[in-house]
Symmetry: none
DNA sequence: AAATTAGGTTACAATTTTGTGACAATTGAA
DNA sequence: TTCAATTGTCACAAAATTGTAACCTAATTT
């Protein structure tokens, strides 16, 4: 159950310490030393939680938090702020800026982990019952139905029949379209995070979902991101442009 | 349609317990450990109901309740307060602050769920007595009768005889046609949520209802949604079967 | 190019879910 | 009381879904 935590902390020693403890608890740390790096990382890996040092070089912590909250893609990511000491002002402005919790230095690893887990546990349910439409596919959770426009011009709809897991998979991917999820993340969020299921099983379900979508001429909507996972995308084709290589 | 319940409770164990039971009842819990978090959560996900521990760290429970009542956006959200013991003062001040109900610890999960549903039901308008017609079936709640058009073209009506439960089931499903309900939801809404009845019993009643409808040539009106529940639908065919198209 | 790795595809047995008929308990009316 | 109607549950049948292994192809590395 790999949960990614972005650690935004300028002091290497603390960054190291936090990283170590996160790993030990089965969380996957990703580090950034300042707001710019953090922004890049957020776009790259889309963490499940952000640990944010309030006292960043240019006091840009608040700004970074606000930035996360403004972007719909990152809006729901919980933020825990690290403060040198609880100053009331900090606390207030932190909560105003959208922090979900705060923890004061120095803190024990146990406490840190406990807070993280607490925040993750109260994660808001990110899937709603809204009708979602993208790439010529419409999914209606309350009616539990999936439709597709047969061609781009007509308004003609066909219903598609999906199995329970395929339905949830499609719903999740569509609710987070354009975002890439690893197999493990998909297992966590769609199957539930206690299950003991092979990662490769996701491939099979993706395959089944694709098969159904292909039948109605909707190809390339569920895309593979090699080395990472899958995503639902109606905006871009999978073209070479998008990978950033560094060889 | 998923109903969100904000659980404001500082003790993790109880929070966990409540969460678990809410989920089991088809409600979507969202947790907060104190008033600040709760405020954030309220703004994030406008919950349908708030379960509020009265004994929060800074005795801020009352204040939080008042705060909800002051804001027009949150004014109508029902609040159930959790109290360690019934102290008259608590009760009074709680109700003064705008709580809709209170429940004393320790409480049984069953009781908790029952209270929640009771409070929620007060706000959900009951299904009306209007005559509903769909899929060639007409149901008249006041006269307690069901008719069916024998074929699509004629206006010829036949009366269908249904047992009490079958009638209510059909009425409920028709009043919310196209919408999928889980067995548990159907039990809650049709049988009443205090009853202790197996989920599978719903299947049997569905079967009985179907049997009657089949007799008058009304098939596929009550549809199964695998992994979820049932629905009344007259708008779409469920199975675009392989070989045969109709006209 | 060979080796290695990641992902696609298929088949299938195990499991889950739903359909169905029977039955005993209950109710209410005659 | 007796009878018929209705109800909830169970057991088994039927059907759909699911996870995995095995094998294959494409991509990447050595």
């Amino acid at each position: 159950m790999s949960i990614t935590v972005l650690v935004v902390e300028d002091e290497p020693a603390i960054q190291e310490l936090i990283s170590y403890n996160l790993k030990k608890s089965g969380l996957a740390p990703v580090c950034a030393a300042n707001a710019e790096q953090a922004t890049v990382m957020v776009n790259n890996v889309l963490p499940d939680l952000v640990l944010l040092d309030w006292m960043l070089p240019n006091s840009s912590g608040i700004e970074f938090a606000r930035q996360l909250r403004r972007n719909s893609r990152t809006q729901a990511i919980p933020i825990i702020m690290l403060t040198a000491k609880v100053e009331l002002d900090d606390k207030i402005s932190g909560l105003e800026a959208g922090a979900d919790d705060y923890i004061t230095k120095p803190f024990s690893p146990r406490e840190l982990i406990a807070r993280i887990k607490a925040v993750l546990r109260r994660r808001v349910p990110e899937i709603s019952d809204e009708i979602i439409e993208a790439g010529g596919v419409k999914i209606d959770p309350t009616k539990h139905r999936v439709f597709a426009y047969l061609n781009d011009t007509s308004a003609e709809l066909t219903e598609v029949k999906l199995g329970p897991t395929e339905f949830r998979l499609l719903h999740f991917l569509m609710a987070h379209k354009e975002r890439v999820y690893t197999r493990t993340q998909l297992l966590d969020r769609i199957w539930g995070d206690h299950v003991f299921i092979e990662d490769r099983t996701v491939d099979v379900h993706i395959r089944r979902l694709r098969k159904v979508l292909e039948k109605i001429g909707k190809e390339d909507l569920v895309q593979t991101v090699r080395g990472t996972g899958y995503r639902f995308s109606s905006e871009y084709e999978m073209n070479p442009e998008e990978e950033h290589q560094q060889s």
